[in-house]
């Protein structure tokens, strides 16, 4: 249950970026900070930080193996967090369950390992050219291990997936389709509904890398019928060190365990052991309990946000930023029709690290590099870019200050 004081705080969120900014303690410590590296990790609201602190101070005990009050509370917190996540995405009636992981990368790797025996020579796995390495390399390696083929949906020049060839790429030999929902580099929002249909037509597993969409695009998943949705806590205003796989109960039930150890075994024998049948077979060892407490509070916080307004806000900031950059004659990568608040920029002769260092001198935090999407960099024939990723606490004033700093930077490096 959300405490009344927190509820009062939440009510302020509706939807005013300046008010929202006050919920994040980092901006009290650094009032001048313009943080636009949110695709990498988001800042944390005070309530989430407090929840983590409180879990250590008042509720610290392990789950499953205690019958004392603290242990029972830990168990309840574990279950309640899973329940809150399913409710948040309107998935609680659709036979989904949750497994906690260390993050998106860990989640996708675990799924890929667990599906090892389902992939045979001649099968194929479909991903896209837009994938973060975490949703590309685990599948590429699986294909190599099993003599299967990795098929890649190409990107158009505008930075969208070219879905005209999707029915050729996804065929009756396709066992897995795994697609990024929102590109962490281009900001493109992909048509996961359409891709899901093609995957389901051939009875392939359909996985969504929701790292960039899990926070504010919560209504995107209930109608998709995905096999599993994977994301991290730290990109949705929650704790680092925790991730989530929301998967179909039947999927988890069939999936081979990916970790072995305490809590997942039914009977340990000298020769061969027998594992549990329920979801706990995928949860060996002690889960990150303090992070789970923080994640529960994260979902309380997210539930109070007007999501449509938040989505429009991010889109509007990206739109203004793109227009102003065009005005300066600077090239933004791609021009997708559906996009979030992420824009990557090629500054031509000024190196991305020099851009990032200069902007840092103006208290603007951006990311320079390939953003773990080397396939996108190769597509645009550049080694690296500067990424501006806006969030709910960024404002139009932030955009104006960034543009002013870029203007001055060009003179500095001229």
């Amino acid at each position: 249950m959300v405490e009344l004081s927190k509820l009062m705080l939440y009510l302020e969120i509706m939807f005013n970026p300046d008010h929202i900014k006050k919920n994040f303690t980092i901006f009290r410590h650094f009032p001048e900070l313009i943080f636009v590296d949110n695709a990498s990790t988001t800042q944390k609201p005070q309530v989430v930080i407090e929840a983590i602190k409180e879990s250590y101070e008042k509720y610290n005990a392990n789950i499953h193996r205690a019958v004392y009050d603290l242990g029972i509370h830990a168990d309840e917190n574990f279950k309640n967090t899973k329940k809150a996540i399913l409710q948040y995405y309107n998935l609680e009636q659709l036979n989904y369950e949750i497994v906690f992981t260390a993050g998106t990368t860990d989640g996708i790797n675990k799924i890929a390992r667990g599906l090892e025996q389902e992939i045979s020579e001649g099968d194929n796995i479909v991903v896209s050219e837009m994938e973060h390495h975490s949703n590309f390399l685990p599948w590429q390696e699986l294909c190599i291990r099993r003599n299967a083929t990795l098929r890649i949906i190409p990107i158009t020049d505008s930075g969208e997936l070219d879905l005209t060839c999707i029915d050729e790429l996804i065929d009756d030999k396709t066992k897995i389709v795994s697609i990024v929902h929102i590109s962490n580099t281009l900001g493109t929002i992909n048509d996961i509904q359409k891709i899901s249909k093609s995957a389901k037509n051939v009875s392939a597993h359909f996985f969504i890398d929701a790292a960039q969409s899990a926070a504010l695009y919560k209504d995107s998943f209930a109608n998709i019928n995905a096999t599993a949705i994977v994301f991290s806590g730290h990109k949705i205003f929650g704790p680092s060190g925790i991730g989530v796989i929301i998967g179909k109960s039947s999927f988890f039930s069939d999936l081979y365990p990916f970790n072995y150890g305490g809590g997942m075994v039914l009977e340990a024998n000298k020769n061969m052991s027998i594992y549990k049948k329920d979801i706990s077979k995928h949860e060996a060892g002690t889960p990150p309990l303090a992070q789970i407490a923080g994640l529960l509070e994260t979902f309380h916080y997210l539930s109070a946000i007007d999501h449509k307004a938040a989505q429009n806000h991010l889109k509007q900031l990206a739109k203004i930023f793109r227009a102003k950059m065009n005005g300066l004659g600077i090239k933004c990568m791609g021009s997708p029709k559906e996009f979030s608040g992420i824009v990557s920029v090629d500054f031509g002769t000024i190196h991305p690290h020099d851009v990032a260092t200069y902007l840092n001198s103006k208290n603007i935090a951006v990311r320079a590099g390939h953003h773990c999407t080397q396939l996108i960099m190769k597509k645009y024939d550049i080694p690296a870019s500067v990424r501006f990723s806006f969030s709910i606490y960024n404002t139009e004033k932030d955009v104006e200050q960034i543009i002013q700093a870029i203007h001055e930077m060009r003179k500095y490096f001229a």
Binding site: H351, P352, H353, D354, Y358, K362, N363, G369, M377, P383
Partner: protein, 139 residues
């Protein structure tokens, strides 16, 4: 903050990056080694000859930030014309000085001495230097 920026992008570094020494693709030279940082995409191709254990005709080209480009250019100025043994000594001393914030004796490299001015950019300074160190150690 402006001062910090100027400490990093000192005039000497900016000038060296704008007008790098021997910045030219020279595939005709015998040795061609790539200095590559996959995290930021910086990629310099180092072209040189070694004749009678002496490094001759050292050129480079490629893509990199102001710091990595200037540092590569300074390195070439330092070791072109040196015997490989001496070149390895110069390169190793510089890397040790940067990594352990030690003293840099050579006047032309002193711009890099105060490593606190290069927070987060040490890899940029050392990109080509480390590549060259590995290659010289192998030979």
């Amino acid at each position: 903050m402006k001062n910090e920026l100027d400490k990093l992008y000192q005039t000497q570094i900016l000038n060296e990056a704008k007008h790098p020494f021997h910045f030219e693709k020279r595939s005709d030279l015998h040795f061609n080694e790539r200095a590559y940082n996959p995290l930021c995409g910086d990629r310099f191709d180092l072209y040189f000859n070694i004749e009678e254990e002496k490094i001759t005709d050292f050129f480079f080209d490629g893509f990199g930030c102001t710091i990595s480009k200037a540092a590569t250019s300074f390195m070439i100025r330092q070791i072109e014309g040196q015997f490989t043994k001496k070149a390895l000594e110069i390169v190793t001393l510089f890397i040790e000085a940067i990594e352990n914030t030690g003293e840099i004796r050579d006047e032309s490299l002193k711009v890099f001495e105060k490593t606190e001015n290069f927070k987060g950019r040490i890899d940029c300074i050392l990109l080509s230097w480390k590549t060259m160190q590995q290659l010289l150690e192998k030979n």
